[in-house]
Point group: none
Chain length 275, copies 2
């Protein structure tokens, strides 16, 4: 079974004429980057002419050069999705059925945070900790519990935190309460829910800042969002995983709490004396 293009090449390199073999070797040498550049650059690097490059990719079975490049990109995508950790990590000490799930989740967490900058988090924290506005939270069919989880914590450290529960018609009416200073935190992963998109659109029109938790394919709500957190959701299961978004939510909860403490919010002091 030949899975990668590199294998395909080494499989057929024996049957190639001299020029094409040089192309193959050049590509393998700095795989796969040369293949992503233009035919002219590739041919120059290999020291052959451009038609030779094209004949080379044709021999590999591709209809044209762009198709070849797309294949390389897809390969790269797959490689980047599941980072090297899988190759490094010792064959899991706990070899059972749980382990692939755990490994995938660990990867998802690392990848999610790798794509998340401190600045972005800091911006969101600043907005959430801004006590001048209200905070609303809502999620989709499977992610609404995450909205509840976040709301449960935030509502303790600051006032004016509301989880939008119940039927669509109910929380749509809450739009009246939302204005420019307010934040709407939405959790929405595939399959994206129309009702949430409509909510987001209306809220956006009212000037509400939207913080969106979504998956890496980005909910259409990203269009209206001020801040987008894209979490990895792929796991070996029939369901997508929201674990990465959950951990980001916990991180934000912690950071907002710390921020409010730093601000010396009276509420925090009162809370501590209550305990």
């Amino acid at each position: 079974m030949i899975s990668s293009i590199a294998e395909l090449i080494s499989d057929r390199i024996g049957t190639m004429p001299a020029g094409e073999r040089r192309a193959a070797q050049t590509l393998i040498a700095s795989y796969p980057l040369i293949g992503l550049k233009t035919v002219a650059e590739f041919s120059a690097a290999a020291g052959v002419s451009s038609p030779t490059i094209l004949r080379f990719v044709a021999r590999l079975g591709f209809q044209n050069y762009p198709e070849f490049q797309s294949a390389l990109q897809d390969e790269l995508a797959a490689q980047l999705q599941s980072p090297a950790s899988r190759a490094l990590n010792p064959p899991s000490p706990n070899g059972g059925a749980a382990s692939p799930m755990l490994e995938a989740t660990l990867d998802n967490l690392r990848e999610t945070f790798r794509h998340l900058s401190d600045k972005q988090l800091a911006d969101i924290v600043a907005k959430l900790a801004d006590r001048r506005g209200k905070t609303f939270l809502i999620g989709g069919r499977f992610t609404d519990p995450l909205a509840r989880y976040m709301a449960a914590h935030l509502a303790i450290v600051q006032p004016n935190v509301f989880h939008l529960a119940g039927q669509e018609s109910v929380w749509r009416d809450r739009l009246i309460d939302m204005g420019k200073r307010d934040v709407l935190v939405i959790f929405d992963i595939r399959r994206y829910q129309d009702s949430l998109v409509r909510l987001a659109e209306t809220a956006h029109q009212r000037g509400v800042q939207i913080v969106l938790f979504t998956d890496q394919w980005l909910s259409p709500i990203a269009r209206f969002a001020r801040h987008v957190i894209a979490g990895r959701t792929a796991v070996p299961s029939a369901w997508d995983s929201s674990a990465a978004l959950f951990v980001v939510a916990e991180t934000l909860i912690g950071a907002v709490t710390r921020q409010l403490e730093a601000d010396g919010a009276k509420r925090i002091r009162e809370l501590e004396s209550l305990r």
Copy 2:
């Protein structure tokens, strides 16, 4: 010091207009692959027009689109050269407040699963997938969302799954419905809630099997529980983390679904035909 383009983007994303910000978010979400494709594909993925993409790369300081792509490719090249360094990267590339939280969570996950035997998981899965009994789920102040999350999934793959919501007096009455064949899944971490303990005790007396998700110090409910899942909760935050329990829950959800598929449950087949 700004080294990667991703950093550059998150640094300036705050100063960008809406359209360009969408471009930035799209790129970050599946970094850096979209940026290697054509302007047209990039713009389509981001849901903006091509000129917006070009303005976006111009704002990042690139003279033209090809130059931007070259920069991305160079970055990729450096990354692919030393794949190990990226996965390990102890001096976190993202050294701020988020990282300790992430590290602690990763540790918690690993530790939690290390203390979790396959057999234990298998037993719980078998019980949850047993269609002869009903499944009830409930959680505490902060963990009830986890119960909801689990219920939302389980209720799809099998009938008779109920989340106990609302006031204590309400769900206490549901005890009447519970019998020997039924399962009660309880989430309870510090500070343990008396109301849940009382519920667990009564349910236990009625012969209900209890599956308890708790922290490493074990809720008093452990005394009545048939199965206990102890998750690590310590993180550098004012709050405890439920992430480990969340991931165990997702693992169980996936395993139960797989089990039911293996059992050839009619419901699963019907579900698939519905989609």
